[in-house]
Symmetry: C2
Subunit: 322 residues, 2 copies
C-alpha cells in the first residue's frame, strides 16, 4: 500500500527546473518562490469536485490536464505568465492506476507552460482537486475585469459552446452522433488555456475574463465590474464546426450560456483593432469581434440584421436550485 | 436561496486593508499581490476534509479559525510573515448558519495576523476547505527542514500531546472527566500558530518544522531532510497540564505521536541558547530543550536517567490501512 509520503515522492516530486523562480519545492513546510523583480504576482485557485466538475470514472490523464488548464486560463485572462502552482488532493484511496496517468496529464501540461509544481497537500476523502496557480504580470498591466469603456469592441477567442455540446451529448440531453460527440469532447475534457493570447494582449486589451461559466454570464461580470453595458450580435458568435451544425436555438444557447469554454472574452478600443489582430496572429489564436461596450447598463442581444433578440440567458451558479 | 456570488460577496469580500501587499482582491480572474521588495514568498496549501480532519457538525467558528491557523503554522515554521491567503470551499449547501460563523472565525484570525483573504473558489460538494497561504521571508533566511547539524539542540515550543488527548476524549478512546476534556479541547479546535516565534527565530534556528502529524514523525522529516539523527529525552517533553495528569505511557505516546499540536520543533546550535531563550521571551512563547541532533541516522529516545527507551512511534499517514 502506497503511503502518503511515497505517493508524493513517486508522482509529484521532481527536481526544480533550471532558471525556475521557485527556490524550494515540494517537501518543506512551505515552498519558496522568488517573484521576478518589479512584477506583480497573479494568483488564482480552482477546486474541482467529483460528480460536480467531472464524472466519477473520468479519464485521469485528461482530468490532470483539465485541472491545471482551468487555472492557466485564469492567468491568461489576467495577461500573466505562468510560474508555479500548488496541488491539494483529496482521494478515496492511493490508487496508482489513477495517480500515474493523473500526474502525467497534469505535469505534461505544466511542462508545456514551464509552470512548476512547488507544493501542496494530500489527504484521504471524497475526490477533490484544488490547484492554486501563480503567474507574473508587469505591475499595472494586468487585464482586469473593471477596465471596459463604452465604445470598446468586444472580442472572443476561438469558439464557444462546444464543451457544452459535448456535455449535452454525454448526458443524453440531446442525441449526438458518435462522430460529432468525439469531435466536440476534447473541448470539454482537454481545454487549451489561452496563455499566449493573454500575454500578447497586454497594453492592447482593456478588460478581460476567461469563459468558464458561459459567455453571457462571464461578459456580465466585466459589465458589472466596469459599470457599463453591451450589445452582442448573436450571429457573429464563433460556434466551432460541431456546434455550427446544430439548430439555431441550441447553437445560441450553448454559445452564450454553456460553460467550460476557457476562451478569453475581452474589450479593446476600436483604435486597437489592428493591434488586436496582430496579437491573434502572434499567438496563433483566432479572434472574433462580437459586439460593443455601451454606457447603458445591461446586456442586449441583436441578430445580424440588427433586430433585437430577447434571450433568457443564465450563467452557471453552483448553488442554484437544480 | 443564497447564490454562489451572493455568498462570496456577503461572507468573504472586504475592502483591501490600507498598506496591504495585495493590489487586487476577491472578484477577478486572479488576485494580484505585490511581494515586498527583496523578499521571497513562502507558500503553503492545506486541505481539510469533513470526517477526516474535522467531525461533521464541528463548530463552524472554530473550524474557520483552525483552517487558517494550520496554514499560519506552516508560515511560522519557515519564519515567514503572513501576507495573504486564498480560500477554496466545497460545501453541501449555502447554509448561512454555517457560513456566518465560519467566515467570522476565519477572518477574525486573519485580522489578528493582518493576513488578507484575496481570492479563491466556491463550489457545491462534500465539505472541503482548502487554504493556500502566502508569507514573506528574507531571501536565504527561511527556516528549512534540511538545515539541522549534528550537535544542534532540539527545541519544541509550548506543549505537545493535548490536542490528541482531547481527540481521544471526544472519541471515547479513553475516559476523560469533563473538566479535563474542556481544558484540552481548545488545543484541538483552536490552535495558536507560532508566527511570532518563527519570525524571532530567523538567523538563530537552523532547521524548523511545525508539528501537525506528531512530534516524532515531524522531527523525523527534519532528520531525513538534513541526513542526520537525534536522541530525544522523553522526560523532558513539555506535556501541558491536562496531559501531565495522565499515565506515563499515554503521556509519552500522545506527546510523541499525537498530531494537531501546531507547535514548532527546531534545531539550533548550542552557542545560540541565549538567543533562543531571548526569542522565546520576545515572542511570549515557552520553549523546551528536548534533545540533540546527532550524525548517526535514526531517532532514539532516552529517559531522564539516560536509559534507552524502545518506543514504537508512528506519525500520521492519511493512506495508512486503518
Amino acid at each position: 500500500m502506497l503511503s502518503e509520503f511515497d505517493l508524493i515522492a513517486r508522482y509529484f516530486t521532481r527536481p526544480l527546473r533550471a532558471g525556475s523562480s521557485a527556490a524550494l519545492g515540494v517537501g518543506d513546510d512551505c515552498a519558496l518562490l522568488t517573484p521576478p523583480a518589479g512584477m506583480q504576482l497573479a494568483i488564482s485557485s480552482d477546486m474541482l469536485v467529483e460528480g460536480r466538475h467531472f464524472f466519477a470514472g473520468a479519464d485521469p490523464y485528461q482530468l490532470g490536464h483539465k485541472c491545471l488548464a482551468v487555472n492557466l486560463s485564469d492567468l491568461a485572462a489576467m495577461g500573466a505568465r505562468p510560474l508555479a502552482f500548488t496541488l491539494a488532493l483529496s482521494l478515496p484511496d492511493a490508487d496508482e492506476n489513477w495517480l500515474a496517468p493523473f500526474s502525467q496529464g497534469l505535469l505534461t501540461l505544466a511542462d508545456a507552460y514551464q509552470c512548476e509544481l512547488i507544493g501542496g497537500d494530500t489527504t484521504k476523502g471524497p475526490r477533490n482537486i484544488c490547484i492554486t496557480i501563480f503567474g507574473a504580470v508587469t505591475a499595472e498591466q494586468a487585464l482586469r475585469r473593471d477596465a471596459a469603456k463604452a465604445g470598446d469592441d468586444i472580442w472572443v477567442s476561438g469558439s464557444v459552446g462546444e464543451a457544452r455540446l459535448a456535455l449535452a451529448g454525454m448526458r443524453e440531453e440531446i442525441k449526438l452522433d458518435e462522430t460529432t460527440l468525439q469531435a466536440a469532447s476534447p473541448r470539454l475534457h482537454s481545454p487549451t488555456p489561452r496563455v499566449a493570447l493573454g500575454l500578447a494582449l497586454k497594453g492592447i486589451a482593456r478588460a478581460a475574463i476567461d469563459i468558464s461559466d458561459g459567455l453571457a454570464g462571464d461578459l456580465g461580470h466585466i459589465l458589472e465590474s466596469s459599470a457599463v453595458g453591451a450589445t452582442v450580435d448573436v450571429d457573429a458568435l464563433p460556434f466551432g464546426p460541431m456546434l455550427a451544425k446544430q439548430p439555431e436555438d441550441l447553437r445560441r444557447r450553448f454559445a452564450l450560456t454553456g460553460g467550460d469554454d476557457y476562451e478569453l472574452c475581452f474589450s479593446a478600443a476600436p483604435a486597437e483593432r489592428d493591434a488586436v489582430l496582430a496579437a491573434a496572429t502572434a499567438s496563433g489564436t483566432p479572434l472574433t469581434r462580437i459586439g460593443t461596450i455601451e454606457s447603458v447598463p445591461g446586456l442586449r442581444f441583436i441578430d445580424a440584421a440588427g433586430a433585437s433578440i430577447d434571450f433568457p440567458y443564465a450563467s452557471f451558479d453552483h448553488f442554484a436550485p437544480s
